[in-house]
Symmetry: C2
Subunit: 592 residues, 2 copies
């Protein structure tokens, strides 16, 4: 079995590219050092390998079952989740004031990636608990924090996010769940929730649902949504009025129980308002933005996992002969000797490691926001990159997994190897936490025009700086020039689109937003590859060990591959945006 994520590569990204150690000079993280981080990643790897990875296949084959009373989940999941909580991996990123360890978010996202590769469905329960606890920490009152955070951080109570409803998936403005104030300051909540991961189970002692609902006379749309804390078990141990209505049976991600919940069938679930009335969407988006980064991270991590498995297979599977030798008595070569197989491995490496670095880069921005005196620029950049970080890896991670299957051939199509499972699990990522189509609207409709395009300007400046650095290395001039051209294309296209928006043709402006996201995503990934190449080339220039030489050369080759095979696609996408190609816009339903 290959490593879950390659530690050499994580060290490269964290320390050589993202300067994670740099945050330790700031007051917020001054108590920590690289030594701590390394110990924590060792512990995460050990736990992931011991408690999570071994039951990943069995969990996929043994879907959670609801017998009408209880949800049955493979017992290994509870054991693993408990160990995760006990290991401090939930508490890790929380501030010491609420019982956390105050570790950098970038480090947390790194261990999340390791656990995701080991067993994404199992770890999803505790990841949601981290997110829910985070929301309570940010928006709950002191009493709520005191009541719930200790047991959530310890992992004895789990959390869920109950946003969607059967008729309202993407369009949260249309939720119908209602919350009516009771005399004691609590609320009675009635409604049906859908797609609730971890909505019911016996893995933890209790579950806290964070529920979006509308107060009486709330304004229509997203401005009338409030957030409520609704526990499964009340303080007297009795069950709250939250009932499982059914399980969703999915293509992948099977071990992560996904539910429909009915609230208030017996009069009203008891809940408490979190934050201000009608401010639920703001609170939820606080969590949602981090969840979106996490989706990108997980998608990329699964991409890496498939890459590593196919990279293990290809040098061990003899099949065929070199093109120039058709002597059937010659010995076969391993398939990694075939150029087409190397193409499929290179593409996986480029997609998966590029996506992973994007997610870690965004996590690093979260740390900047938290730890810099003025984190406003980091926040702007993070806001801009969030939809890209969610969508690009969730598009290209599955593409990487598709190539992993193809490298393994028939074997890859069987459930004897994990690559098909990665492919199925990963297919959820372009859908949940806002479909990629919605990310595209968020990017082009909100993030790009925000503050007169200030965020995009910041990004362009970052990219230009890397291009300038790269040009100081003769070996990188070609790739730097390709990225520079791509940057020019994206800038020009954005300006042309801006003119469409200014002409008030919003429908046309946003018609091909998905294309804009893909193009911008490629620019960002191309930049992050060049960033890696600059580090790698500098290291090589200074002389490194044979093993490191191979590692850095791989980075340089993947950068070059991305520049040659992927970046040129931006020109084609730009042509669909400038002018806006309007065939989909003009298409009528009855013509299909």
């Amino acid at each position: 079995m290959p490593e879950l994520l390659r530690r050499r590569d994580l060290d490269f990204m964290l320390y050589e590219v993202l300067d994670l150690e740099g945050v330790c000079t700031r007051p917020l993280y001054a108590d920590h050092s690289r030594e701590d981080f390394d110990t924590i990643l060792d512990a995460a790897t050990e736990l992931a390998e011991r408690a999570f990875a071994p039951h990943a296949h069995a969990l996929d084959e043994t879907e959670p079952v609801w017998d009408g009373e209880r949800v049955h989940i493979l017992p290994e999941v509870a054991i693993a989740c408990r160990a995760y909580g006990e290991g401090g991996f939930i508490a890790g990123v929380f501030p010491p004031e609420v019982g956390g360890l105050g570790l950098p978010y970038t480090l947390a996202m790194t261990w999340v990636g390791i656990f995701a590769v080991a067993n994404l469905p199992s770890v999803s329960y505790v990841l949601l608990t981290m997110a829910a606890a985070n929301l309570i920490d940010a928006y709950g009152d002191e009493a709520q924090k005191e009541r719930w955070l200790p047991e959530m951080l310890a992992g004895t109570t789990f959390g869920t996010m109950a946003l969607s409803e059967p008729h309202a998936g993407s369009s949260l403005a249309d939720i119908r769940t209602t919350a009516v104030p009771a005399d004691d300051g609590s609320y009675r909540i009635v409604g049906n929730k859908m797609w609730i991961t971890g909505g019911d189970h016996d893995l933890s002692e209790n579950i806290v649902h964070l529920v979006l609902a509308k107060l009486p006379d709330a304004p229509a749309g997203t401005r009338g949504i409030s957030l409520f804390l609704v526990p499964k078990l009340l303080d007297d141990g009795s069950r709250n009025d939250v009932r499982l209505a059914g399980l969703n049976h999915k293509m992948g991600y099977k071990g992560s129980v996904n539910t429909a919940l009915n609230l208030g069938e017996e009069g009203g679930a008891i809940g408490w308002l979190v934050g201000e009335p009608n401010q639920g969407m703001r609170a939820m988006f606080h969590m949602m933005n981090e969840a979106r980064t996490a989706v990108g991270l997980e998608a990329a991590a699964l991409g890496c996992a498939g890459f590593l498995h196919s990279l293990e297979y290809a040098p061990q599977r003899p099949q065929g002969r070199p093109i120039h030798n058709n002597d059937p008595t010659a010995p076969q070569v391993n398939i990694i000797e075939h150029a087409d197989v190397r193409r499929m491995l290179l593409a996986q490496k480029a997609y998966a490691e590029g996506g992973l670095l994007l997610a870690l880069y965004c996590a690093r921005l979260v740390d900047d926001v938290r730890s810099l005196e003025d984190g406003s620029e980091a926040q702007l950049l993070l806001d801009l990159l969030t939809p890209i970080c969610k969508a690009w890896p969730s598009e290209y991670g599955p593409k990487a997994n598709d190539l992993a299957i193809q490298v393994l051939g028939g074997a890859g199509y069987t459930r004897d190897y994990p690559v098909e499972r990665f492919y199925r699990d990963n297919r959820l990522n372009p859908i949940h936490e806002g479909t990629n189509g919605i990310q595209a609207l968020d990017l082009l409709g909100r993030k790009v025009p925000k503050n007169q395009g200030r965020a995009l300007q910041l990004l362009m400046a970052q990219i230009s700086a890397t291009i300038a650095q790269a040009k100081s290395h003769e070996q990188l001039v070609d790739d730097a020039t390709t990225l520079e051209k791509t940057l020019g294309i994206v800038v020009q296209t954005t300006m042309s689109l801006g003119a469409v928006a200014m002409a008030n043709d919003v429908e046309r402006y946003l018609a091909n937003a998905s294309v804009y996201l893909e193009m911008t995503g490629h620019l960002v990934i191309g930049w992050l590859w060049l960033k890696q190449a600059v580090v790698a080339q500098s290291a090589v220039n200074h002389g490194v060990s044979h093993q490191d030489q191979a590692f850095y050369t791989g980075k340089l080759m993947a950068c070059h591959f991305f520049a040659k095979w992927e970046l040129p696609k931006c020109r084609g996408w730009a042509k669909l945006l400038d002018p806006v190609e309007d065939t989909p816009l003009r298409m009528q339903s009855e013509w299909f």
Copy 2:
């Protein structure tokens, strides 16, 4: 539920585009008429809807199980397959001399597409039987034909293709199964076979395995492979020495039992030579080429199925509001009103219907080969198009299914809707019957240079003729011009590559063969869309009903979509081929 395949579209392709009625003027098919064809397609649709579609979901959830003695398969499969045989759908394409109906191959491929959508795993058993019987008909001696064809055509005996071995999947040159002559003219066969679909079951009274094996002292490689007929049950009713070694558990296509078989564990399976000694590969490739066309057909048909399901969902699912109306009190619109959803539907239509027409076009060429006095040009064109027909739809069919999932969102990720099943089933198609990488080598390494490029010239002439026709319609000049430019790019790239081959740099010539296949595939699909557009535009010009107007407009829009969104990609691919981009070629294993 939508139609399995839309009959209006099949009629369009068969009669308006491919002139299937035209074959009825030839002696071979003179007994048939469109009326017959329509009746047969009605019967196929009725049977597919009644006996195949209803158990498709259950079969996917109830994988075949081997208890060590017997393979248990959902009983509906046997009932459906029996009805297929009784309905004449196996016998259909065979000549009357051996008990067939002598129907055109194009028609057979059409009904195969219908059954594939209904339930591909179930119908796979009888499709393999068709292919095996075809091989016996073409290469068997009279005694073999008399002995086996009647029961295979009736569907009481099934067939398999036993080519691969555990260590030899793509590289059949390396098989190790041996066949030693016995005194009675039969052979004793010993070896292990892998990936054998339908290798064991109780669905039929008997199974005929067509087995590749090597005679003693056979030459090395593919020139030393012979073909044998090895029945599961011998004529005295005893079991032959063919044992099930295990089942493969797949991501999709689950109902189609896939096996490892051991031959000769008790001394040697009894088999009979089919055709000449050491000519097994030639015979197998006769079958294989038709199997490859069928793979493309099935991949495209599944693509159509996903398209039709998402096209049913999108106009019924309210979600969100028009871009220019953010009033939350306004009613929601159905998602088909969103440009991005229409983009995903258009892409599916373009990929799936384009791929389907390619497969039917190839089938029509098979009919030309069979029924024309001089079918040599048709044969050349067919040989050239076969790897494209196998690979392109098997790449783009799954892409269409991916988009179908995305249109349905969370619902599409559940097993409550069939789109995720299409996606999983379809993922086999780029792998089996020769991976798409192997198709690419076949195209660029064999088919393009064959006869000094004669086949490619024939294709170019066909494409040019369609461009000329299209240009006579003002509305099609743009799309025709785009295709013309693409044709120029492909011609230029092919010539440049030819120079690489002439310089004897075969490794470089073939390094990016997959890219060449994708580019050529796009050219061919772009051509077939323009061909459809010419028919549609002519019809519209002559005045049609409102319903037909919508149908033809849809074809015109899809053609335009392909020209605008897909054909421009060829320029990017050409840049990877001319000159040959060699990053994958230069990449070393240790650098990954």
